[in-house]
């Protein structure tokens, strides 16, 4: 259920601290016993669904009835890849990612830098920006739906107070996107903010002091010191944000139901609609696998890039 990367680039799997030179028999047995419970759960409930998905995608399985159904070969895949609605949904997920990622990463960086210049009240900012993140998506949707309500909601009222007409937040496609993006911004922005604040705290203060003595203005300090030093964090935040945004479901499903007329429906809702609403388990599994491969490719590309860069730096350091 989670996608994670360690902020500290320390190798989590560095050589093990074995006790004594040669592992004793008891250590071998204990090791197996200790890791077995987790391993069983992991294999059954994390690897299991993956294998299940691969198998199902070749059958005409029904979601609501026992049994696999008939073997259909790759025809589920052919249908998914040829379905314009699937690609529409894919595009909606990508569009959501393209819009939210720069906003959520850029604003988080900006705010974290601003916060770093202030001595007092850091806890206050952290509370304000991170609190929404611990609230369930449906509660967020309830509150925002109320704020978006035409005529009586807070946001349309604010629009009319400054003499503008509010977009139709729930009934139109562009309004719907605006509504979802504003809500997402409020809800998840604090997460990246916290990651950046933590990273900024790791920057040694004497770097700034030296720069200040050299006569660097605050803006120069930020541009020439803070931002470059935060590059590794930005790369991490970026990939986490891209992966999370590609998996969008809750906000769009709750606020818009993928509408109007499926014009905002993300991939996961497409899988939900075909697999659960229409009971087409096998077909839904094929759509799942196509989507799954795309996400894994994105994160593999990121890991690959990072490794490439790491070895590049190492080579330069050695030379």
């Amino acid at each position: 259920m989670t996608t994670v990367a360690s902020t500290r680039p320390a190798h989590p799997m560095a050589p093990v601290h074995t006790v004594g030179q040669r592992p004793r028999r008891s250590g071998r047995r204990a090791g197996v016993l200790f890791s077995t419970p987790f391993l069983i759960i992991y294999l059954l409930f994390l690897v299991g669904p993956l294998l299940m998905g691969i198998v199902l995608s070749f059958f005409n399985t029904t979601t609501v009835k026992d049994g696999l159904g008939g073997w259909v070969g790759v025809s589920n895949y052919a249908k998914v890849l040829g379905d314009s609605l699937f690609w529409d949904a894919m595009w909606h997920s990508v569009l959501f990612t393209l819009i939210t990622t720069p906003l959520l990463v850029g604003l988080a960086l900006l705010f974290a830098i601003l916060a770093s210049r202030i001595r007092r009240g850091r806890v206050f900012y952290r509370l304000a920006f991170f609190a929404p993140y611990v609230v369930p998506s449906s509660v967020v949707a309830l509150i925002f739906l109320w704020m978006y309500t035409p005529e009586v909601g807070l946001i349309p009222k604010l629009f009319s107070a400054v003499g503008l007409t509010a977009p139709d937040f729930i009934g139109s496609t562009s309004g719907g996107w605006t509504a979802v993006i504003l809500m997402t911004l409020w809800w998840t922005f604090g997460f990246n903010f916290v990651l950046y604040t933590a990273a900024i705290q790791d920057v040694p203060p004497d770097v700034y002091e030296a720069a200040a003595i050299d006569g660097a203005s605050p803006w120069q300090q930020i541009r020439l010191i803070t931002v470059p030093l935060l590059n590794p964090t930005t790369s991490l935040v970026l990939i986490l944000q891209i992966l999370a945004s590609l998996k969008v479901f809750d906000q769009i499903y709750l606020l818009l139901g993928g509408g109007p007329n499926q014009s905002t429906r993300p991939v996961i809702e497409y899988i939900y609609d075909t697999g659960f609403t229409s009971y087409r388990g096998g077909y839904g599994a094929a759509a799942t696998m196509v989507y799954f491969v795309i996400i894994v490719a994105v994160s593999a590309a990121w890991y690959g890039l990072r490794r490439l860069r790491a070895t590049g730096t190492a080579a330069r350091a050695a030379a």
Binding site: M1, G27, M52, V134, I143
Partner: protein
């Protein structure tokens, strides 16, 4: 120097403004929940029109089984925390201190697990759980959150920070590995336990899609899924709906306020999402 001070002052003003904006939805929800539907429609922007009352809260509490939803969320999150901490700390311990056959396989599996977008797998997951007859039970929600590679990594990283001589001493005293794990290492690892607990609790409490698929009876739902049934753009019982959402977020905000330092640290060290 003066320029820098001015700049910092500007930062503070700007940031405070945004922080206040960030509080608005919470405040607006609370204010709405205390008003009456009639006066809300008539004077949406004047919070004091029509007087305040707790009527909407009693309505929400009596009309929706919020108590059951809380109980379900709580039991599921608690079970998830207990099993995650137990199983993942044991696995982390094994990976940190013990060399055993298959260790490399475990490491490879767990590392690969970090990259898998498991939320995308709800459909095959559903069919697997159906064939195991786990649908409709709390276990259907507990088990996937136990299979969390990140928790294993957090524990492993903490265990590795424990000085090896400490463990060797315990072993020489004749302590079994279980005793080493339970009486030496776990007490030292309290911060890891609390980080994993908090993160597991929040993600389990807030999960939406999977519980939506798995728990279907009205009184067996969790808070997020139960409250999602109130999401409707034709609803005009604004105060009641907002009262329900306040009931939905208040306990979490309270927990967050109490543990905020630890939660933020946990997020910062693991980058969990």
């Amino acid at each position: 120097m003066n320029g820098a001070k001015l700049f910092n002052r500007l930062c503070a003003v700007c940031l405070t403004l945004f922080a206040l904006i960030w509080f608005v939805p919470f405040a607006w929800a609370i204010i709405t929940s205390l008003r009456q539907d009639g006066s809300i429609t008539q004077a949406p922007m004047s919070p004091f029109a029509g007087g305040w009352s707790l009527h909407a809260y009693s309505f929400a509490w009596h009309n929706y089984p919020i108590g059951y939803w809380y109980l379900n969320s709580l039991v599921i999150a608690a079970l998830a925390v207990v099993f995650t901490v137990a199983f993942c700390s044991m696995a982390g311990f094994a990976l940190a201190f013990l060399r055993f056959p298959g260790r490399n396989v475990v490491i490879a599996l767990v590392t690969a697990g970090l990259m898998l977008p498991t939320e995308a797998l709800v459909l095959p997951q559903f069919i697997e759980y159906r064939s195991l007859h786990l649908l409709g039970t709390y276990w259907a929600l507990v088990l996937p959150s136990v299979a969390a590679p990140v928790s294993v990594f957090i524990f492993q990283a903490f265990f590795k920070g424990i000085p090896t001589p400490l463990i060797e001493a315990a072993r020489i005293d004749g302590a079994s590995w279980w005793r080493v794990y339970w009486t030496v290492c776990m007490p030292i690892c309290r911060p890891a336990v609390s980080t994993v607990s908090i993160l597991t609790f929040i993600s389990s409490w807030n999960a939406f899609l999977w519980p939506l698929l798995v728990l279907n009876q009205t009184k067996s739902q969790t808070i997020p899924v139960g409250l999602s049934s109130l999401v409707s753009n034709t609803n005009i019982q604004y105060a009641e709906v907002m009262a329900s959402s306040v009931l939905g977020f208040l306990p979490l905000i309270a927990v967050f306020l109490v543990f905020q330092r630890r939660i933020v640290q946990g997020v910062a060290t693991t980058g969990i999402k």
